[in-house]
Structure formats: C-alpha cells, structure tokens
C-alpha cells in the first residue's frame, strides 16, 4: 500500500479506531501537493500513425458548410453535399470526421459516399472506434461467405455491376442455404444488368417457398418480354382480349388457377376490388406491352367492359416493364411519380411542368415532383415558382413541403431567377436555399 492509500484507508475508518501518529490531515495535504505536482510523462502506447492521404481535402469553406449541415442547418442537403464532394474525388478535413462517421453510423444511406470522403484518416479512425467499423467493410469474397446480410448484398451488387453472369452463378451456388429473407433481397439485386441469361434461374425461383421471393422473381421476369412467364401471360391475355376496329373487348378471368399463382398473380384481392378485376389487372400488367401495339392508338379505343381496370393495368405494366413510350402515354391518364421514373430526365421535367401548371397543390403534386430527378431546369422551375406565388395568396400555410422540394431540386444556378421572380417570402426562401446550394457547389469546385 502506498503512503496515500494508507492515509485514505486510515481516514475512512477514523483515527479513533486506527490510530495515526501525527496530524493526518496535514500529512495528507503534503501528500496531495506532492502527488499533484509530481506527475510523470508516460511514454504513450503505440497506435500506428495514419497513412498519408492520397486525396486533397475539400476547401475550408466547403468543410465549414458540411459542419453547418451536420449541425442541423438544411439537414436534408447532407446527401447532396456528400455526393457532390465525393464526385470531386476529394476528402473531408480530419476534424469533421468524428461527426460525419457518427452520422453514417445512424444513417446507412450516406455510407456509400464515405468510403471516398473519409480518406485514409477516416479508415484509421474507424479502426480505433468499433462504432465506425462499418467504414472498413469493403465487399470481398470473404464477406460473401461470412459477412452480414447487408454486406453480402453490397458484395453481390458490386459483382453484378461488374459481371452479371458471375454474380448470378455465385448466388446460385449458395441459393439453397440462404434464409428466405436473404433470398428475396438477393433476387432484387439481379434487377441491375438483367438479361435472358437470368431467365432459367428466375423461372426456377417461381417455385420458391417464400412469397416475397416468388414475387420478386415474377417482377423481374415480367421485364423480359422473351421470358417464359411473359409468354404465358401474353397467352392468358390473348385468350381474354379481342381487338376489332376501335373496340377492345375484354373478358376478365373467371378463376385464378395454380399456374397463374405460380406466375405471380395473387389470388386474393385487396379491399374494394373484385376478384375478377384484380386477376385481370395482374395478367394485363404482366403481359409484354409489345402485345398491344402503340399506346396512343390503344388509348383512343373504346373498352366497353373493364375499361378502368385495363388502363390501371397498363400503368402498372409501364412501370414494371420500364417502357418509356407507355409511361409517357399513361402519365396523361394517371400522373404518378413511378411513371416519370421510366423516362429520361428532360422529359420527366417537361411532363412534370405541364402537370404543375394544370394541377392544384395537393399531395399528388408533391409526390409527382418528388419523383422528378434533381436539378430542375428553367421550365419546371418557373412552373413551380409560379405555383408557389399563386398558392401564397390563398393558402400560404400549405407551402412548406413545396418550398423545400423546390429549393432542394431546382438547379442551384437558377438562384437569381428565383430571387428576381417575386418578392414573396416563400419564393425568397426557395431562392435562399438555391443560393446556399449554389455556394455549396462553388466551394466544392474550387
């Protein structure tokens, strides 16, 4: 026991019980000063220094803006900042790393950018703090054998992008041993680089025990017009649809047989839809759209029975089969964001702008705009700003989300257009956010 511990334990029990020769408090005071003043330098234990950086850091202003975003100002722009910074091939300065890695721990969606942005220093830090170890999880062959579900999926995605056939063969090799949840997730990965080479595997997956797996496989096969499933669906539609002159005669299915179920048709309709309508919609949406011909001609035809069902099915078919011609045509009939996503960006914006001009501000408008890919050009931007000005005079309290969407998606280079467009406060708010983003890109380009 050292002198100090001796003093402390004596004081704890009291000198009445454990006598002390001398004045304990005075001795303790000397000891306190001695201990406090007598600190020694311990040779620090060895953590290897971080390797040098290969990339340059973003500028100080850019880094400060990231600090602001992480601090809660315009938080929704964090992914945009990270994507833009990662695209410049630079990294963030070391001092923001702890905050950024902490953010990535809670928000998986931003991790994809962190690999580049965190640089060597980030990986070095992640090696010391297990909470940030996700940064180190590079997909390798080993993670396929041993990794968690997310890592394995990342590994499969990467491989699929590089070599679709190899990815499918890897999946086939372990298919039987995968859990049902994993199987469903893995099938979805095949959407990237999908080809007829995947057809036999997917056809087999239609017999899977798990419904999610069957459904995912059926959805992918629907995108392959040459697949056996597409051909079977085409056959079902052919048996129930007759086109003569400008009339489409439709006979909805009477039953949902076992083969239909195997091809992804769900027998039990959701509430509010009749069984036959439900089955009809499903077979139409899964039959190749090439079966029908030109959408504009078909939309001009009369459908005496099941009109709404057939058209809803065409919408679904356009989305499932990613068919731009049909998506364009069907957006006029049912403007939903899913259809826009089948179209090239310019066309999305044109369609959306037309829609904004002719539609009141409601949740549908917000959803459509949410589906238009970012950096809206002048056409859509002015359509939206004009809508904001109009709504501002009648129900300004409803503008919150529209203002945010506009500020986040309009091309930031248009901030002056927005500033001059109207002095109305919500427009100025959009302009301020655009300027914020314009500054953000400017800083990152330096």
């Amino acid at each position: 026991m050292t002198g100090w511990d001796e003093l402390a334990s004596t004081a704890l029990v009291g000198t009445d019980r454990r006598p002390y020769g001398g004045d304990l408090l005075e001795a303790a005071a000397v000891e306190v000063a001695r201990r406090r003043a007598g600190g020694r330098v311990n040779e620090p234990g060895g953590v290897e220094p971080a390797p040098g950086e290969e990339r340059e850091a973003v500028g100080r202003r850019a880094a400060e803006r990231l600090g602001r975003l992480l601090g809660g100002e315009h938080e929704r722009l964090i992914p945009e900042w990270l994507a833009a910074a990662a695209a410049t091939g630079r990294r963030v300065p070391a001092y923001v790393l702890p905050e950024l890695l902490e953010r990535g721990r809670r928000d998986r969606s931003i991790r994809v950018h962190l690999g580049v942005l965190a640089g060597q220093r980030g990986r070095w830090l992640a090696g010391q703090n297990p909470a940030w170890a996700y940064l180190l999880e590079e997909p390798t062959g080993e993670t396929w054998e041993l990794g968690g579900a997310a890592d394995r999926r990342a590994h499969l995605s990467a491989l699929r992008a590089a070599d679709p056939g190899q990815a499918r063969r890897l999946l086939e090799s372990t298919w039987e041993r995968e859990t049902p949840d994993d199987r469903a997730g893995f099938v979805e990965v095949l959407a990237d680089g999908l080809s007829m080479a995947d057809e036999p595997f997917l056809e087999q997956a239609l017999d899977d025990r798990r419904r999610e797996v069957r459904q995912a496989a059926a959805n992918l096969l629907t995108r392959l017009p040459g697949s056996r499933l597409s051909q079977r669906m085409a056959g079902r539609v052919r048996a129930r649809v007759t086109i003569s002159g400008d009339t489409i005669t439709v006979e909805a299915p009477e039953a949902c047989d076992r083969d239909m179920e195997r091809d992804g048709v769900r027998p039990k309709p959701p509430r509010g839809i009749g069984e036959r309508a439900w089955w009809l919609q499903q077979i139409v949406s899964r039959a190749p759209l090439s079966f029908w011909g030109s959408p504009n001609v078909l939309l001009g035809m009369k459908i005496p029975d099941w009109d709404a069902e057939v058209k809803a099915a065409w919408v679904r078919a356009a989305v499932l089969q990613r068919d731009p011609e049909w998506a364009r045509a069907m957006f006029g009939w049912d403007p939903i964001a899913d259809l826009l996503e089948c179209l090239p960006p310019e066309e999305q914006q044109e369609l959306a702008a037309r829609f904004v001009r002719g539609h009141d501000l409601d949740s549908q408008l917000i959803m459509v705009l949410g589906g238009v890919s970012s950096h809206w050009r002048e056409g859509l931007a002015t359509a939206v700003l004009s809508k904001i000005v109009k709504v501002n005079t009648t129900q300004p309290w409803n503008l919150g989300e529209l203002v945010k969407l506009a500020g986040e998606h309009i091309d930031p280079a248009l901030f002056e257009l927005a500033e001059d467009y109207s002095p109305a406060e919500p427009v100025q708010k959009v302009a301020a956010l655009l300027r914020f983003r314009a500054d953000m890109y400017k800083e990152l380009s330096r």
Binding site: V13, E26, A29, R36, G39, G45, L125
Partner: protein, 491 residues
C-alpha cells in the same frame, strides 16, 4: 483588416444553443437589405417582423455588438447572423460605414478613452501612495520563452506596501476588516475542529446535510470561498474512489484554514492567495489599477459552467512574449449575456492586470490596443515587434499555432504553480509535439470526462501536434488544437 473567423469561432460566441440556431436562420443574404464591412466593422439592416429593419453592427476588433432589436440575448441573432455571413464571405467590403455605425464607433472610442484615463488616474494615485509601486511587477515576468517566464517567478512583487499588515486587502478600512477577520477566524476554527472530528470518527460519517450546514455557517462567517469548497463535497462523495478524493478535499481545505490562521507568517503573495481563496473580495477597480502586462495574448479556449443559476465563463489566454497564462472569468445569471469579447483562436494585443496571489492567473483585460498601436501609449510595455515590421502590419496574427512546451516542461510549470499555490485546480497549458490517445495526451492523463477526444485524435492522425489544454488534478481537458494549415480547431 481582421482575419476572418471560422464558423465555429462565430458560433462559439452565441450565448446558448437556441441563439446558434436562430443566428443560422438570419445568416442568409436575402434577409439583409443592406450589409457591408470596412474590414474592422460589420454592419447590416435585417428585415424583422416589424416595419423597420433592425440595424446590427459588430466591431470586429473587440468584438463588440450593437443591434436595434429588442432581444435580451447578447450577442443577438442578428449580430451573430451577420458574423456568420461574413465568415462565409457573404458581406461585401465597403469604403465607409453609414452614419449610425460611425456614431456608435465614435461613442465607444470616447468611452474607451475615458476609462483608460480613469485607469491612468487610478494608477498614478497608487504610484504616489508611498510604498505601493505598481511598477514592481512590471519588471517581473519579462524573460521571453519557457519556464523562466512562469508567472511571478522569482521574488517578484510585494503587492502591498511594507507598512500594511499582511493579510489585509489594500485599500480596505482597518476596523471593518478586523470585525470581518474575527468572524472568518471563528468560522474557520469551527471548520478545523469539524475536520479533525471527521478524521477521528471516519470519513464515511459525513452526510450531505452536514456539509450543507457547514457551508451555511461559513457563509455567515463571511468566508464564501471556503463555503464554496465545502458545498461541493457532496459531489466529490459521489465520485469513484471517493474516500481518497474526499480526503484530498478535506486536507486542502484544512490547509487553507491553517494558512489563514497563520497568514501573518506567510510571504505576502501567498497571504493574498489565502485571503482570496477564503473569500475576501477584491474589487475590479483594485485589479485594474494594478500594473498592466502588455502582450499578444492567444485566446486558447473557453468553458461555461452553470451552477446555482449563475453561468461562469472561463477564457484562457497565454501571452506570446511573456509566456504568461491568464484566466478571464466572467459571470452572468443563467440566460443572460456572457462576455463574448474573446474569440478562441484569435490573438489580441492587450494590457492585462492580474489578481494578486502567489501564482496569479485570473486577470482582467484592462485595455485592448487598436489595430494600429498608438505611437505613445504612456503605460505600455514596448512591444517586441521587430523594427522592420511595416506600420500597417496587423497585430491580429495570421492563423498559426501559439508557441508551446513539451509535456515534461508543462509538468515542471504545474509543479512550480502548485508549490506557490497548492490549491490551484486549473492551469492553462499549450503543449507541442503531443500525440493524443483515447485516455492520454502526450503521455499525460486526460480528465475522465475528456476521454475519447475523437476530434483531436482525428486531427492528429496519430502524429504530434500543438494542443491547448486545461490542467486539472484529475487530468487534462483539451481546449483547442491547430491543424496542418494553422487553423484553430475548437475541441
């Protein structure tokens, strides 16, 4: 032209978190119908809820703030928002400021001149009082560089006249003092007896209400300093390894009581330390009248602590020339503005006057020198600026880490400080060439609450750097570091 502050430095000026948020809300160009900077002052008109815009201005040399808004926060969100805009390069340079700005600046200059004149007068008065030589300490810590410049090193200054009784604060009336001394002596005698009882009966005996009662009696005995120590014992009792910690506190407060009792036998600076720690007040005026120490002071960092609805702000400085550390302590009721004039990471050219004591640390900023030093400042210690420095050279140094010492030298300094004033619980240090770890910094232990200093570790990358830190008996608390580019990173 003032070096632009970083966003963190600006936000650190905010009185609270909600002000930080509010400031970010007005830090948008669109909110300001007018804004500009002359390099030393920022100004702008911000649209508020009323018809007339708020007029906000910031004098960057101090900084000082003015705004026409009714907010009681200080600095208000408009001043902070303007600073944020400026920090982001969003305030255009202008030749001249509008009239309302120049009027404000003139008024401030006038007040500053008046208070400088008052200070001079006070110093002259003291200097003419026989035996009290304010110049005594002037000569003290002048050697530049390392440990030789430790504050007050050497037989520097008998702060009071030889004729005065040691243990009295200069300038106070004798009779009143003696009444107070009787009360304090009685209170501390009771404290000594109580402590002796504790050690006889065992440390585990004391309860929170015992300390509370004792602290109240010490307040009644006009020994608020000691009362403060006693009232914090309940917290010590809750710490890990409390018997040892409690014994430390008992031993030190007992030592203080004994030192008070025997103060007549102590060297004068130590007697001053004992009186101040016991709770004898020293007025601002007395401190300001002391000998000024002019230097370029690096603002190392700061910490706010709220206790009993009072927020204490500690700002630590260290002089470039003298190597002297200083603590600027200010208080404000919770929610009220704190002194925001010292910005971490900046360097100020100022006269400081120190509270007396054996290891003086606490100080007041007596005078801040303007951007271009006046040619004949009567009381100024000649600045060590190299003669070839052009006259327009800004005293606000470009970002650069302040000079520091090795951990070994820092420990020597701490040992010296504790030798002078064993009650010292905080001492600012600038360490160079130190590598931070999760529980250590340059081989010295970190304070338990400062473990895992990830930001510091990230900046270092396992390599040595310069870190300003607060030494405490429980370990170091990092304050600020400087990255590769010399930019201050607040920790």
């Amino acid at each position: 032209m003032t070096e632009r502050w970083s966003r963190d430095q600006v936000l650190a000026l905010a009185p609270d978190a909600s002000s930080q948020k509010a400031a970010q809300g007005v830090a948008a160009a669109g909110k300001w119908s007018l804004r500009g900077t002359t390099g030393t002052v920022l100004y702008g008109e911000c649209k508020g809820s009323g018809a007339r815009p708020y007029l906000a201005a910031v004098d960057l040399s101090e900084p000082a703030y003015r705004c026409s808004c009714p907010s009681r926060k200080f600095p208000c969100k408009h001043a902070l928002g303007l600073l944020l805009l400026w920090s982001a390069d969003g305030v255009p340079a202008q030749e001249a400021a509008p009239q309302w700005v120049t009027e404000w600046l003139d008024g401030r200059a006038e007040r500053a001149a008046k208070s400088a004149a008052r200070l001079d007068a006070a110093r002259t008065r003291l200097a003419t009082t026989p035996g009290t030589a304010p110049s005594a300490r002037d000569a003290g810590p002048s050697a530049p560089g390392a440990s030789a410049a430790v504050p007050g090193a050497g037989p520097s200054a008998p702060g009071t006249a030889p004729g005065t009784v040691p243990g009295t604060v200069p300038g106070a009336g004798g009779r009143v003092e003696s009444v107070r001394h009787q009360r304090v002596a009685a209170g501390l005698a009771e404290l000594e007896r109580w402590l002796a009882d504790q050690v006889r009966q065992g440390l585990a005996g004391a309860q929170e209400h015992d300390w509370d009662g004792l602290a109240k009696r010490l307040i009644d005995a006009q020994a608020p300093g000691v009362a403060g120590v006693v009232s914090r014992l309940a917290r010590v009792r809750a710490e890990e390894g409390w018997p040892g910690r409690l014994l430390e506190e008992y031993a030190l407060v007992n030592l203080l009581a004994i030192a008070y009792r025997r103060r007549a036998a102590l060297p004068d600076p130590l007697a001053q330390t004992v009186l101040i720690r016991t709770g004898f007040p020293i007025t601002r005026e007395e401190v300001l009248a002391g000998p000024p120490v002019r230097d370029h002071w690096d603002v190392l960092g700061r910490r706010d602590e709220t206790q009993d609805r009072l927020t204490a702000r500690r700002v630590w400085l260290r002089g470039r020339r003298t190597g002297r550390p200083a603590l600027i302590l200010s208080f404000a009721p919770q929610g009220q503005p704190l002194d925001a004039s010292l910005v971490t990471g900046t360097t100020i050219d100022a006269d400081l006057t120190f509270y007396p004591g054996a290891a003086p640390l606490r100080a007041l900023v007596a005078l801040r020198h303007p951007t271009t030093p006046p040619p004949a400042a009567p009381q100024a210690v000649p600045p060590e600026a190299p003669p070839e420095a052009p006259p327009e050279a800004p005293p606000e140094a470009p970002p650069e880490a302040p000079p520091g010492v090795s951990p070994g030298e820092a420990l020597d300094e701490v040992a010296w400080v504790l030798g002078e004033d064993p009650w010292t619980e905080s001492w600012p240090l600038v360490l160079t060439g130190v590598v931070p770890g999760r529980t250590t910094l340059g081989g010295l232990p970190l304070h338990p609450r400062a473990h895992d200093p990830w930001r510091l570790i990230a900046v270092s990358g396992g390599r040595p750097l310069t870190v300003a830190a607060e030494w405490t008996p429980q370990g170091l608390r990092p304050l600020t570091t400087w990255d590769d580019e010399g930019t201050a990173v607040i920790l």
